[in-house]
């Protein structure tokens, strides 16, 4: 339980990575947001039973991680942490859908399993690309870019505060758990009976702290505007970046690249 604190510190790695300076970091934030959005739309538009044709899309996150010098483990850990959700969403497919999909050797893979893995892959792609966006851009720049793109201010401020208070919540959580574990000796895990009071405490403390932080921001002139020191103007390379990736996403969507490559290798063309 005590190591929750270190995990919380680790959470902030994304912000630290966002302060790096690589060619990907230097791109205009709007470009990166739009490209990520197009990527998400393309990923979501694949049909339920599409599996193999999703693989080429991994080129996008892998290239970015490489060019932006993002440690693979940092992203992978976070994607892994969201896995329970996708398991929960997708696990009913194999149970409900037994129609035969395709044959691998002696095994018949049902459509249920195919759609399960398809959901899994699409989920990984989506979460990875979103994490990369944050880790190469930073939440404050994303906020200011959204404002520039005429996303309503209310919505942007909500988003920024949610992100900031997530840390506050986790911070309070780690302290509460630490205090508890130091005074409860032979217990493993958190017994059910303390959940109620602890959650209540946690909520109150988080609200309190969130309010103090908000006050501190007000005292330094915060008025809902997200102002930045560095603003990267839209350059030719931004447009090239966005168009280039979009073209690739569309190609991956329209053509089944793995099948095509396979055919090319075997020489059936």
């Amino acid at each position: 339980m005590i190591n929750l604190h270190s995990r919380w510190m680790d959470l902030r790695r994304l912000d630290e990575l966002a302060a790096n300076d690589t060619e990907i970091h230097r791109l205009n934030p709007c470009t990166k947001i739009v490209t990520t959005a197009i990527f998400l739309i393309v990923v979501a538009s694949f049909s339920k039973y599409e599996l193999i044709s999703l693989f080429p899309l991994f080129l996008y996150p892998l290239t970015l991680m490489n060019r932006a010098a993002l440690p693979f483990s940092v992203i992978a850990k976070r994607v892994f942490a969201t896995m329970p959700f996708v398991l929960f969403i997708g696990i009913f497919n194999p149970l409900l859908d037994h129609t035969p999909g395709f044959q691998v050797g002696p095994f018949l893979i049902s459509n249920g399993w195919i759609s399960f893995f398809s959901i899994l892959l699409r989920f990984i792609l989506a979460v990875t690309s979103a994490l990369i966006l944050v880790a190469t851009t930073g939440m404050d720049k994303i906020g200011s870019a959204l404002l520039r793109m005429h996303v309503p201010k209310m919505f942007v401020i909500q988003l920024m505060f949610m992100y900031r208070y997530l840390y506050v919540l986790l911070d309070e959580l780690s302290r509460t758990l630490l205090a508890y574990s130091l005074r409860s000796f032979n217990e493993t895990g958190l017994p059910f009976r303390v959940w109620g009071p602890m959650l209540g405490q946690l909520l109150l403390r988080t609200i309190d702290r969130a309010q103090r932080i908000y006050q501190a921001m007000l005292c330094r002139g915060f008025s809902g505007e997200v102002r930045l020191l560095r603003y990267n103007a839209l350059a030719k390379k931004d447009i090239a970046y966005c168009l280039g990736w979009s073209a690739f996403f569309l190609a991956a969507r329209i053509y089944n690249i793995p099948q095509w490559l396979g055919a090319l290798l075997i020489g059936r063309y």
Partner: protein, 252 residues
């Protein structure tokens, strides 16, 4: 220069849970003065400071900062001239890097980025923390956090500095550095603290709070020499003013 006078008249404040934290309190602080607000835990020091920057609005009574009464319209203006260093630096430092944090105020004041950058650098230089500028604030030591928190307020060039327990949690060396730093400031200073030795170094005037009321207001040394008063305020004579029990043991 009349425009930096702080004038508090008969303010009362009750927290939503009906705790009366300030009870008919009046105070006038002149330009360039350094005033210590002392008193037991829960005496109302933090609550009083919160009123100086409009974080709390009195239930009754008025607060005037310079030529303006503190209200919704003047709040933005007043927050530019009053810089508040919070009790807990973690609440004050919320940006991903130290530099962004120190530049946050100037940017919000609408300064162009180059000027905000310069202001932030100057402020960091003043507190001797330029080398920390690219670090994330939550990874700094307590003393470093305090320095950066002070820089984040200095970068807005306030006329009045308000500090809540600035020396709490600092080791002796950091505390001494802080005192030297604060001594070099020409601002009007209002410092809430339990550290009475720090008060001797920094503030010529002391206000003693007890249960939301001012029970004494006068020259620091005179107040610290009044044993009855100190006891009433649940305070203890600063160590420097006590006879040393080791060098000169009291005769029993």
């Amino acid at each position: 220069m009349s425009h930096h006078i702080i004038e508090i008249k008969d303010i009362e404040y009750m927290y939503p849970d009906k705790t009366k934290a300030l009870d008919g309190l009046s105070l006038r602080i002149l330009h360039g003065e350094a005033v210590a607000i002392v008193g037991a835990n829960g005496a109302g020091k933090s609550t009083l400071l919160s009123h100086l920057i409009g974080v709390l609005i009195p239930s009754s009574g008025t607060v005037r900062i310079g030529d303006y009464p503190l209200n919704k319209e003047t709040l933005t203006h007043i927050r530019r001239s009053v810089g508040m260093v919070f009790q807990n630096s973690d609440d004050q430092l919320f940006m991903p890097t130290v530099f962004d944090d120190v530049a946050f105020g100037p940017l919000n004041m609408g300064l162009p980025p180059e000027e905000a950058t310069q202001r932030a650098l100057d402020a960091l230089k003043t507190v001797d923390a330029v080398h920390l500028k690219d670090r994330p604030p939550y990874k700094l030591s307590g003393g470093q956090k305090r320095s950066v928190a002070i820089a984040s307020v200095l970068s807005m060039l306030p006329d009045i500095l308000v500090m809540d327990e600035p020396s709490a949690g600092l080791d002796p060396y950091c505390r001494r550095q802080l005192i030297t730093l604060l001594q070099s400031f020409k601002h009007t200073k209002i410092i809430a603290t339990h550290d009475l030795d720090l008060v001797i170094d920094l503030c010529e005037r002391t206000v003693v709070l007890s249960n939301g009321k001012i029970i004494a207001d006068g020259p620091t040394l005179q107040i610290f020499n009044d044993d009855v008063l100190l006891q009433k305020g649940r305070l203890e004579k600063p160590l420097r003013m006590q006879g040393c029990p080791i060098c000169k043991p009291a005769i029993r």
